[in-house]
């Protein structure tokens, strides 16, 4: 499929379908984007497994860190890759050896590897590249607009408060 643009419905379905997310290249440095995203996805109710070989056995945001995808003790719905494009392919290939195979492989902003994406799609895995799940969740929920962002979403349906009951937290509305 074309990976230059994605329909909002495609991204929405992914963020609705997945519950467990492994983050390759998660950082414990609170100023790093990978920490921001780890924290945000946990707050939105996803079960997040941070991956970082140098920190295996320790914790990020209260979640145990694993060295590699094969160490994660549960089925992974989505692999989110916070590594550069050159090495992204090796993580895609590792993900494709998992049983069960993840439903989604997501590569972060600036990360794109079209050949690896083709291999994943041939295995029935949905792929998103050069996007951030925090940003996409924010666009669909309405939180992106809170920072002046142009979500591209037009709707006459009420925005939905997140199920966590937090005051300043919107959720994705099932459509």
């Amino acid at each position: 499929m074309n990976h230059d643009t994605y329909d909002a419905a495609y991204i929405r379905k992914i963020l609705e379908d997945v519950r467990t997310i492994a983050i390759v290249g998660a950082s414990s440095n609170e100023a790093r984007p990978s920490f921001f995203v780890t924290k945000y996805l946990i707050d939105k109710g996803y079960k997040v497994f941070p991956l970082n070989p140098g920190m295996a056995g320790r914790e990020i945001c209260g979640r145990k860190v694993y060295a590699s995808l094969s160490d994660v003790p549960e089925a992974i719905d989505m692999v989110d890759i916070f590594r550069n494009s050159a090495v992204a392919a090796s993580f895609v290939d590792q993900a494709l050896t998992l049983q069960p195979v993840p439903k989604v492989i997501w590569m972060q902003l600036t990360v794109r590897h079209d050949e690896a994406a083709e291999r994943a799609e041939a295995a029935g895995v949905r792929v998103v590249m050069n996007r951030c799940p925090k940003i996409e969740y924010g666009k669909l929920s309405g939180e992106w607009g809170w920072v002046g962002g142009n979500s591209g979403v037009i709707s006459s349906k009420k925005q939905s408060l997140h199920g966590s009951g937090k005051m300043q937290s919107l959720g994705i509305v099932k459509q």
Partner: protein
């Protein structure tokens, strides 16, 4: 909505403005509050560290303001926007994000007089130096670029002369030098012209004018085109590309990608300099924006009729309105603002300075005041008011010589506008 791309008029009404999540209110509520309660200490810490989306304090963001920001970003085709107290404060925040003491900005001479003043005087006290160029000589922009240049600043349709700038040509100069092109789109509004489609990286506007449209609320906006690589040259834009000490080492461009400029303007510029828009003003401007297309087309249609009438009047020596065939900017207008040349233009009175002062003194329907982009028709004599700080040479370059009268043609019945001008010029 379906995946069909919504049209401009649909965006003007709906972009950013979903029903309120707490109450279902269909119109955007006025969140007239200074501050927002945190869920818990961790939530507060996440907001202050930029880790979570959310509201802290209305000096930095506000939900009413946020709807306005998303709407303008959508209409301009940008990735994000930041609303401010006025157009001038928007310019200040843009320069604060881009420039360090000793840096330079290349500006078109054909700018609003208030902007010329700001660049010539106030901004100098920050150590930001302006180098002037001329839209009638594109090479003057190229010649003005130095290693210290941090941006090029132009107006799409220039105030007061109604000049239409060749944006594609100036965007090429900016791209070659790898500096952002900032376009003030106040007089065109996104209905007539969308500068990002012509290579602009940052759009700035006074919302006080056509976007609000009713002459009742001040506001300004910065739109991030999301199309500039802030990290290409190390050290060129340190506020965007270096770890920021006031946010524990967060790097804006790395963290916020194609909205990094808008975020930098908000969390470093607006946070520290403070010119926040009031929620009530944001609401008023939002209400105005819903009818932007209807008003703007009527402004243009009326302005063309007034310009045609003036150009045939023996008391008038010249009319500078780009929609008139034969105007030196007519080709640019057809290219950059094909739906119309806007409401603001100038004309010359054969009677010179005294005739100008006499005309603005005698109007009865038109209002003699220093604004543009109101529903009402407005008139001013720039040489004795908005541009009175400029030297005679600057007045000529800015299109504001002693015989010049500026109009902002409103959306009244055009026959009444012409009748009032006719009696005032007598």
């Amino acid at each position: 909505m379906s995946d069909q791309q919504p049209g401009f008029d649909t965006l003007a009404i709906h972009a950013g403005a979903k029903p309120d999540p707490a109450t279902g209110a269909r119109a955007t509520p006025i969140y007239q509050t200074t501050s927002f309660v945190f869920d818990d200490a961790q939530h507060a810490a996440d907001l202050f560290a930029l880790r979570a989306f959310g509201n802290i304090y209305t000096r930095i963001m506000n939900p009413t303001q946020a709807v306005l920001e998303e709407k303008v970003a959508a209409l301009e085709g940008g990735t994000a926007a930041l609303a401010t107290a006025s157009g001038h404060s928007a310019q200040l925040i843009i320069c604060h994000s881009l420039m360090m003491p000793g840096d330079e900005i290349v500006c078109a001479r054909q700018l609003y007089g208030g902007s010329i003043n700001a660049f010539n005087h106030s901004f100098k006290s920050f150590g930001w130096n302006v180098v002037w160029a001329d839209i009638d000589d594109i090479s003057s922009f190229e010649k003005a670029i130095t290693p210290k240049t941090k941006a090029i600043f132009i107006e799409s349709i220039a105030n007061p002369g109604g000049r239409v700038t060749d944006m594609d040509a100036i965007a090429a100069v900016a791209k070659k030098a790898h500096v952002p092109l900032i376009v003030d789109n106040t007089l065109a509004s996104p209905y007539l012209c969308r500068p990002i489609e012509h290579g602009a990286n940052i759009v700035v506007e006074s919302l006080t004018k056509f976007l609000g449209g009713h002459g009742n609320s001040m506001g300004g906006i910065i739109v991030d085109g999301g199309n500039f690589d802030w990290g290409k040259n190390k050290g060129q834009f340190p506020m965007l590309s270096e770890p920021n000490a006031s946010y524990n080492g967060v790097t804006m461009y790395e963290t916020f990608g194609n909205i990094a400029f808008a975020i930098t303007c908000r969390v470093l510029g607006l946070r520290d300099l403070g010119p926040a828009i009031s929620p009530f003003n944001a609401f008023q401007i939002l209400t105005g924006m819903e009818t932007l297309s209807l008003r703007m087309q009527r402004h243009c249609d009326n302005a063309l009729k007034v310009a045609e009438w003036l150009s045939k009047d023996p008391r008038v020596s010249w009319v500078s309105y780009a929609a008139l065939p034969g105007d030196k900017d007519h080709d640019n207008q057809k290219k950059y603002a094909p739906k119309g040349a806007g409401a603001v233009f100038t004309f010359g009175l054969k009677g010179g300075y005294n005739a100008g002062v006499g005309t603005v003194s005698k109007v009865e329907l038109l209002s003699h005041l220093a604004n543009v982009g109101d529903t009402r028709s407005l008139i001013i004599h720039p040489a004795s008011t908005t541009h009175s700080q400029l030297t005679p040479e600057q007045l000529e370059k800015a299109g504001a010589g002693p015989d010049v009268v500026r109009l902002s043609v409103g959306i009244e019945d055009v026959a009444d506008i012409i009748a009032d001008l006719d009696q005032a010029m007598s």
